[in-house]
Symmetry: C2
Subunit: 205 residues, 2 copies
DNA sequence: GTCTATACGCAGATAGAC
DNA sequence: GTCTATCTGCGTATAGAC
């Protein structure tokens, strides 16, 4: 059944009750597991929703969403870190959940789909404002940004010296250096057209 | 102790012997776990070494190393997939190993450090050849490429429709679109200078 | 080298007292 | 709501026969 590494005894000890008392609140271990995952997904979604709502420019929106994901994981780390001293990565948990319980797997897939769509919208807006390289397809880029960030979170759990909160600014500026627009928008295009027109007019004369 | 999800009974069944016979070959479960992780790290390192050796251009080298990582995970998936029907991601295994056993954790850290250094060298070479954007710092970029790829592998285990082997070309071209050089290198710069010189000579006459 | 038999501990889970 | 007592099953591990 569910997370084999976390026993009911551990859970009971942590919240200060005895093991059998858990069965008053939950049907079985699977129910504890399911509700935990749903709670985590719910609070992550809330956070992303708030982040997107509060920001104005497309650049700000993208950074707010990514900061939201990092912040969420940091909160989890601190929350659990007081007991086990190690930062905790929730992706193995989500992976296991989606492996064993199809309904949860579906919710997790939906979570990713929503996140991807949210990023896609921000990217399209940013491309419309000539802030992001137009040659990058929004759906692929959204997926790759999610992968990039989750990979960084994964690596930061391996490597304690890689603290995402301290290098956040550096990471973001690297990201913009990579995905930032290479053209300067329509203003300069019309400027170039004007020059070309002037030159062609000039050669005619 | 080690991987709680995989019991000795499962291992014994899989290789066709009885459970107690495992104790003839290994001292205990921990030894099985340790040697497995070391075997995996070793074969991954061999693969990366071969990939880097066989390639000529810096672009080829980078793609070969990344393909090596993807290929390694695919092989693992097929290898285990015949029994459990699901692609397997080794990062949770590495994570657990580094969590429980400090010596293994050190080896895993070294593996990542080597990989990062290998990528860094390729990136420096590519920047010297004006193939990769010079404004990206090689160490950060190496780390972020590793994160990007591991994130993609992680997501592909969640989402079966995301098959890295089929979209490999698309991923790579996106990567180059992001990190590719924005300047044209000294060769074209001198070409431009020559043109400018020619024009100025022309106007002189 | 591989087996059967067996020891011991801890997991999840239930019954029933307070 | 929380507890003590207890059940059952599976885990790792060992002893000793073939």
């Amino acid at each position: 059944m569910g997370t084999k590494k976390t026993s009911l005894t551990m859970i009971a000890d942590e919240i200060g009750i005895k093991k059998p008392s858990l069965y008053y609140h939950f049907k079985n271990k699977e129910e504890i597991f399911n509700e935990s995952v749903e709670y985590i997904l719910g609070s992550m979604n809330n956070r992303l929703h708030d982040a997107n709502k509060a920001s104005t420019s497309s650049k700000e929106a993208l950074e707010a969403v990514l900061s939201g994901i990092i912040g969420f994981h940091s909160d989890l780390s601190v929350f659990i870190g007081e007991l086990y001293q190690k930062p905790v990565n929730i992706y193995p948990l989500l992976h296991e959940a989606s492996y064993h319980f199809p309904e949860l797997g579906l919710e997790i897939k939906n979570h990713y789909a929503e996140l991807q769509e949210q990023l896609e919208q921000i990217i399209r807006r940013a491309q419309g404002e000539y802030v992001i390289n137009q040659r990058l397809s929004p759906d692929s880029l959204a997926l790759e940004i999610i992968a990039w960030l989750e990979g960084l979170i994964l690596l930061s759990t391996f490597n304690p010296s890689l603290d995402l909160n301290t290098i956040r600014q550096k990471i973001f500026s690297n990201l913009w250096e990579m995905i930032g627009s290479r053209e300067s928008g329509p203003s300069e295009n019309t400027f170039r057209k004007k020059i070309a027109k002037t030159i062609s007019l000039g050669t005619k004369w």
